[in-house]
């Protein structure tokens, strides 16, 4: 038997086993990716299925007689606005006697706590409405909102649900009268936070996040580019620049909560900056974003071919003229891409903001970088911690808003990378 034949036979004999192994590896790999995809799918599905209902809000439309006995012009903005609303509801509901206080309270609880303030603001703005009947559309309270959205099932035993049979009957009567509507919930974006889920919105968090991001950008962008140019173009190669490099790589991997400790101790403790302020949040995020921007900028500077530098240097330009006149403009798309990605990361960062107190309960939007505020991710954290059912769907909705911003930012970054970046 020649050795060649033996080789051939033995290879032949091993083939089946080896091909099976290959299929196994391939299947494991595919399975791993599908697991990751399934988790992503589960994440989005669960967010959408719990969050979509928060994008609409159940409202009741009432004919309200602004009773001069309850609301007197000389006492504005005080007055019995809730009594007026209860009376309006009573007219819409047949067979509900409003004599008893407890009944009045039960009827009044159909509407959101914010309804009376809505009425108050309208009357205060135009006192001539006193004595007239006006049409008013106001949000209903959380349990009725849940009932209308199907989250409370009337078929479950009465003891196990938040609304009893009478309450459901009242609401069904309003529905039958065509007074209930479910418009888009603009309140989610234009209201500030509230104890009541049906009134709570993201306005404060959006403005707080915007301030923090602006501060973060104003600090980290120039500092990051400056440091990157120094390291990449100007610094002598010595032990000091190696130290800075290792330091920057390490800063990029320091846990975010440690930055929170730094901010708490230095910015708030030593410098005496106010707690919960977007300014402090932005400064903290800037320190975290800086390494990202430095690394991205250095990569973009490195990608500019040496020939361009040499050509400019050969024409007698100084080192800095080359950098600012030629290299930096060419590297700008890459730098911007890295910056946007860094800012997107900063927008989703939560832990350091918790430590500097940006999880305060604040019912008005901040009016500047120094006033107390929340940010989008900390608002999500607050709502996720709240027991009311309405907050569960609002948390998901807030997450969807946050993810919407992140996806938009990343899409812009990808667009910049594809359209503007030149391949050398």
């Amino acid at each position: 038997m020649t050795p060649q034949l033996t080789t051939l036979d033995r290879v032949q004999a091993s083939l089946g086993r080896r091909r099976r192994k290959e299929r196994l590896l391939r299947a494991s790999g595919l399975l791993a990716i599908l697991f990751a995809f399934a988790m992503l799918g589960a994440l989005f599905l669960s967010l959408i299925s719990t969050g979509h209902s928060a994008f609409v809000q159940t409202h009741a439309t009432l004919e309200v007689y602004v009773d001069p006995d309850e609301i007197r012009e000389d006492r504005l903005p005080r007055g019995g606005f809730d009594e007026v609303l209860v009376a309006a509801l009573g007219r819409a509901l047949d067979g509900v006697a409003l004599d008893e206080r407890s009944t009045r309270r039960r009827v009044g609880a159909i509407l959101s706590n914010g309804a009376q303030f809505q009425l108050r603001d309208r009357v205060a703005a135009d006192p001539s409405l006193i004595g007239q009947t006006i049409t008013l559309t106001v949000p209903v309270s959380d349990p009725y909102d849940q009932l209308n959205k199907g989250a409370i099932d009337p078929d479950t035993p009465e003891a196990n649900r938040r609304l009893d049979d009478d309450q459901i009957a009242m609401f069904t009567q309003l529905q039958a009268a065509g007074l209930i509507s479910t418009p888009l919930n603009w309140g989610l974006l234009v209201n500030a936070d509230s104890r009541f889920p049906e009134l709570a919105g993201l306005k404060g968090a959006l403005i707080g996040s915007a301030w923090a991001l602006i501060v973060c950008f104003l600090i980290s962008f120039p500092l990051g580019i400056g440091a990157a140019i120094y390291l990449e173009e100007l610094a002598p190669r010595n032990r000091f620049s190696t130290l800075i490099e290792v330091n920057i790589n390490n800063l990029a991997a320091v846990p975010s909560v440690v930055y929170g400790l730094l901010a708490l101790s230095v910015f708030i403790g030593w410098f005496g900056l106010p707690r919960s302020a977007p300014l402090v949040g932005g400064m903290t995020l800037a320190l975290m974003t800086m390494p990202t921007i430095i690394i991205a900028t250095r990569a973009a500077l490195k990608a500019v071919p040496a020939s361009i530098r040499e050509a400019a240097l050969g024409l007698g330009a100084s080192r800095q003229q080359v950098v600012f006149g030629h290299v930096l403009p060419l590297a700008m798309p890459g730098i911007l891409t890295g910056t946007i990605i860094g800012l997107a990361q900063a927008l989703g960062e939560t832990a350091p903001l918790l430590l500097i107190g940006m999880n305060a309960f604040i019912t008005s939007a901040p009016d500047g970088p120094l006033s107390s505020a929340t940010a989008l991710p900390t608002q999500i954290f607050i709502w996720a911690d709240s027991p009311e059912r309405g907050f569960a769907s609002r948390t998901s909705a807030a997450i969807l808003v946050l993810l919407g911003f992140l996806i938009t930012m990343n899409a812009v970054a990808v667009f910049l990378r594809n359209k503007l970046e030149r391949k050398w």
Partner: protein
């Protein structure tokens, strides 16, 4: 109001540019030979004004609150008796601050109202003084620059020296950040160690910081032993890595060797989405979906799963780490030279053999570096465990039980009041120090390994 000084110094810089640029340009049009072109004369002047004024503004803004605070404290009537701690003083100061903001609760004592008025006056005074001194400084520097202006002035070199210095300062910020982290952590930890001995902290088996502690009880009670917190962190980290490392590596192998190009083009961005999801979202996902699912699964199997089990938190953290490990491993595998792949295939390897016996071992150092960075991330990850893991420190290795982690304790100890003399608060900084040290060591090791690996194939 805070922005005004910055607007002022921008105006000053532009003015300086205009003045010197015009002076230089008019000289040149008069026929004189200049060393540098007019815009460099302008730039040099602008940069000198800008840097000096910016320096003044930053130092001023950093210090004025501290100084004013100090002045107000000194002016307050001495607190009744020496027993009143710094905490009581802080409370009074907080009240004065909110009075100054115009928030009144009840009727304040007249001396507090007076202090608040003084605070407001100081602040206004400080702001005005800053604006005045900025203006003076700008004008002074500008006049100096204008007077020093000669045709021979090497304005380009001057402005480049300044730019160089400014960019060096940018680098220094990165160093200062690290220095700030180390200083802040060590400072507060030293204060903590005055109240709790180091051996107690490192080797104690009980962590019960939430219990109110009398002054004389602190050291004796032994409620600040971090062992159970450390063990909890390790349990969650191990669960996360058990999920993430095999999944991430198999996914990378598939993408690198088997996937069609079209599949890869879709799969990589999708994995990037998974990597871009903020951790607070993962935390919510854990409490909304995974924890209940784990409990139901446990019930079905007859196991007792805690509502905030280490398993659920670790699983979600593992999902978060998958794309991180995948992209690291994919990059490391792609960095292996094509020649090795060709060599293995030409010997008659199947693709699986090429991958497992040649490419993977060759890429191993890079992959190990990535896994190390993932470990450091898992240890330092905060929001997922804050939302999905427990608060009570329990010394257990059972992943079905509820455990707490270092990061959870840091956050829960610091949410709410933060008086800096409270052992509770200081304990958070001590934990932070440990967290920083551990992750620092892992990071530096990982960065070293990865750099070495890159050098072998460059």
């Amino acid at each position: 109001m805070t922005l005004l000084p910055f607007v002022l110094l921008l105006v000053g810089a532009m003015l300086a540019y205009a003045v010197n640029h015009r002076a230089a340009a008019s000289l040149r049009s008069g026929g004189a030979r200049l060393h540098s072109s007019p815009q460099y004369h302008g730039l040099f002047a602008a940069l000198t004004v800008l840097t000096s004024a910016l320096l003044l503004a930053l130092v001023w803004l950093a210090l004025d609150d501290v100084i004013i605070d100090h002045l107000i404290r000194r002016s307050l009537p001495p607190p009744d008796g020496d027993a009143a701690s710094a905490g009581a003083m802080d409370l009074v100061m907080a009240e004065i601050h909110s009075l100054a903001r115009g928030q009144t609760f009840g009727t304040p004592e007249p001396w507090k109202q007076k202090a608040a008025d003084r605070l407001t006056a100081f602040r206004t005074g400080s702001a005005v003084a800053l604006l005045v001194s900025l203006t003076c400084l700008s004008i002074g520097v500008l006049t100096l620059r204008r007077r020093r202006f000669t045709p021979e002035l090497r304005a380009r070199q001057g402005s480049e020296r300044l730019t160089h210095a400014v960019m060096f300062a940018c680098c220094a910020v990165a160093l200062l950040t690290t220095a700030g982290i180390v200083a802040a952590l060590l400072f507060e930890t030293a204060k903590f160690l005055q109240k709790v001995p180091l051996s107690e902290f490192l080797f104690g088996l009980n962590w019960e910081p939430q219990i109110p502690i009398r002054e004389d009880q602190v050291a004796a009670s032994g409620a600040f032993g971090w062992t159970p917190v450390l063990v909890g962190t390790l349990v969650v980290t191990v669960v996360a890595l058990v999920v993430a490392v095999p999944t991430g590596l198999f996914a990378a192998i598939y993408l690198n060797e088997f996937a069609h190009r079209r599949f890869k083009r879709v799969a990589k961005p999708v994995l990037e989405v998974l990597a871009g999801v903020p951790t607070v979202v993962y935390g919510f996902f854990a409490i909304l979906v995974i924890s209940p699912a784990m409990r139901r699964l446990g019930d079905a199997l007859g196991l007792d799963v805690a509502p905030n089990s280490a398993l659920a938190a670790g699983l979600v953290m593992g999902v978060m780490l998958i794309p991180f490990i995948t992209s690291f491993a994919d990059d490391a595998l792609s960095a292996v030279p094509q020649a090795l792949r060709d060599g293995a295939l030409a010997l008659g390897s199947t693709r699986a053999e090429t991958m497992l016996k040649v490419l993977f071992p060759a890429a191993l150092p890079g992959i190990v570096g990535g896994v190390l960075l993932a470990v450091s991330r898992a240890i330092g990850e905060t929001m997922i465990v804050v939302m999905a893991a427990g608060l009570i420190a329990r010394l257990t290795l059972n992943p079905l039980d509820s455990v707490t982690t270092v990061t959870v304790q840091i956050v829960t100890l610091l949410i709410g009041d933060t008086a800096f003399d409270n052992p509770k608060t200081l304990a958070a900084f001590a934990l932070g120090t440990m967290l920083f040290l551990v992750t620092l060591m892992i990071n530096i090791l990982a960065i070293r390994v990865v750099q070495k690996y890159r050098e072998t194939y460059d």
